[in-house]
Symmetry: C2
Subunit: 118 residues, 2 copies
DNA sequence: TCCAGTAGTTTCTAATTGGATACTATGAAA
DNA sequence: TTTCATAGTATCCAATTAGAAACTACTGGA
């Protein structure tokens, strides 16, 4: 059972901030986002946790990190890979499900989600 | 951010056996399944963990528990609710994603998943 | 020289989660 | 009376995960 695809995929993206990070990278015009930018948007995340999750997501191929050392200070930019973008369909369905069955639309209206474009 | 629908839904179903339990309840002809039956099918789960997850899933409305005390010993049967069934679309998409991007089809062929009808 | 902004890391602690193992209670059957 | 099957609990411990707070290293600019 532990070699079940579902089981293994949940191990990768079941952690507290993983899906929110992917969602945050999807939002807005600008698809490249910097560390401090993500930290500011995901209000309650600590730099330690954000750093760990970004590393994991990169290792697992959901996101890529590009380092722009043309200017100073160095800027690191994170963006979705192709597989990460495809995973957003799932996140979208989770949101739809959550809104339908668990949390009223109004909750989402009041929260940051109104900006999430899903 | 913590009132984000995604964040909250992951809190509910991000735990280790939750999705596998839902999947197990979906499989097969017989939609009602008993505790020991689930324990046997989800090979590595301990009764404690299974018990906790079933309670959570019931509280959250994914599954329902019906007690058949007509015969002895009492039989408890678990089955998906309507919202639980709808969540299986998401699980199916997670599986598709996992097979496409992370784990070869062959892995799933070798595992119990070949029986999962997703 | 000191501050600001970049992107994190370090340390310590707390909370959550999961596993191993043994145990409970019920009633029927051998 | 012991055993079996039902459906779990209880206890203890280990591992994982998350958070708070402070700190690092780099360089440019005031």
């Amino acid at each position: 059972m532990k070699d079940c695809t579902i089981y293994k995929t949940v191990d990768i993206i079941g952690k507290k901030w993983s899906l929110c990070i992917l969602l945050e990278l999807y939002k807005g015009e600008q698809k490249q986002k910097r560390f401090n930018e993500l930290k500011a948007r995901l209000q309650d995340v600590t730099p330690k946790t954000l750093s760990l999750r970004l590393k994991e997501l990169e290792e697992q191929g959901f996101i890529r990190k590009t380092i722009d050392n043309s200017s100073v200070p160095i800027k690191c930019e994170y963006s979705l890979t192709e597989s990460g973008e495809e995973f957003l369909d799932i996140i979208q369905n989770i949101k739809k499900w959550g809104l339908k069955w668990k949390f009223g639309n109004d909750e989402c209206e009041r929260s940051n989600c109104k900006l999430c474009q899903l």
